[in-house]
């Protein structure tokens, strides 16, 4: 996926929208920050997730971090290849490293997300 076409959160998740389905992952910046991921726990199909609330967890270097839902909706797809092949997050954070697909329950929430340009500016500010 072309990162320029994605929407982002300040907590480093990305969203690609096609119709009423959103594909969700975490950015290359987040993967770099986390470094050396060893576990990922993703929600099951059918789980309802809520914008701004945790939808999954990852572990890296003995640190467990929450993943926050960029949009609300029902999980209709999950990247089951990911937990056993976390290198996908490094090699293809915006492609093969996707995490879940969600049927949007409130498309209006997309307007609260950041463009790639705004997200990059947020990352630069966090680094300083």
């Amino acid at each position: 996926m072309d990162p320029a076409s994605l929407k982002f959160t300040k907590t480093h998740e990305w969203v690609a929208v096609e119709g009423d389905v959103a594909t969700i992952g975490i950015s290359d910046f987040a993967v770099h920050l986390l470094s050396d991921l060893v576990y990922a726990d993703l929600p099951p199909i059918g789980k309802k997730i809520t914008q701004g609330e945790p939808f999954g967890e990852v572990e890296s270097v003995k640190a467990v971090s929450d993943l926050y839902a960029p949009v609300s909706g029902e999980v209709i797809g999950r990247n089951d290849a990911l937990p056993d092949n976390l290198d996908l997050l490094t090699t293809s954070p915006f492609g093969g490293g996707w995490m879940v697909k969600v049927r949007l329950s409130n498309a209006g929430e997309l307007s609260s997300l950041l463009s790639q340009t705004a997200y990059k500016a947020h990352c630069d500010a966090e680094k300083h």
């Binding site: 470094s35 060893v38 967890e57 890296s60 003995k62 640190a63 467990v64 929450d66």
Partner: protein, 237 residues
Amino acid sequence: MTKLPHVRQIIEPAPNSGAWNMAVDEVLLQSAIENGIATLRWYSWEPTASLGYFQRESELQNDPRLANLPHVRRLSGGGTLVHDHELTYSLTLPPSQSLITRPMELYRIVHQCIAAELSSRGAGAALRGVTVKNRQEPVLCFAREDEHDLVLNGRKVLGSAQRRRRGAILQHGGLLLAASPVTPELLGIRDLCPGVDLERLAESLGTAIVKEIAGTWENGTLTAQELESVRTTIADC
């Protein structure tokens, strides 16, 4: 890191159960998130095994030495710890902390303070400096090798782990004072440096850490609201 304005230090006088200890750390993380309170806590345990957040219960049950110990799950990652003759710290930093893009630096900051204090008491500890990865990591945290480990005479005496939530960090770690009869192969500071003075260790380690991370600090206790939250957390488990 940019110094925090203020840190509350809590030194617990007696060992507690695993459920209590982990509930307190969880409540302190919530206090950091909701109220911006930074806390450095020192505590000890009734003999307990703690599992890393993603570890399977079966890993504990498969080891006959660990299977009969009371156990609890940590919010943080890493391997299993046998908490027995141990001094444990937890440090909770609010979302305003400056390590948002380099949270692993907190391992180094705390461990270097502890290394310096131990060294001043004649137990020359240092950071391991290199990570050794195994395809199948040992179940026990103290059998794993991470660059941030504190090592004394070649033996790991301190390992820490983190939980990051909404920009806040909970970091906790166990300082092995002496080997537990459950895991006699894991030597502690007293085994490695017989005669070393460990009197008032929490107080002096605490002073070293708070001076490094905060402008001001004071000794305190849990608030009534935090105590209530701890009881609720334990009841909900």
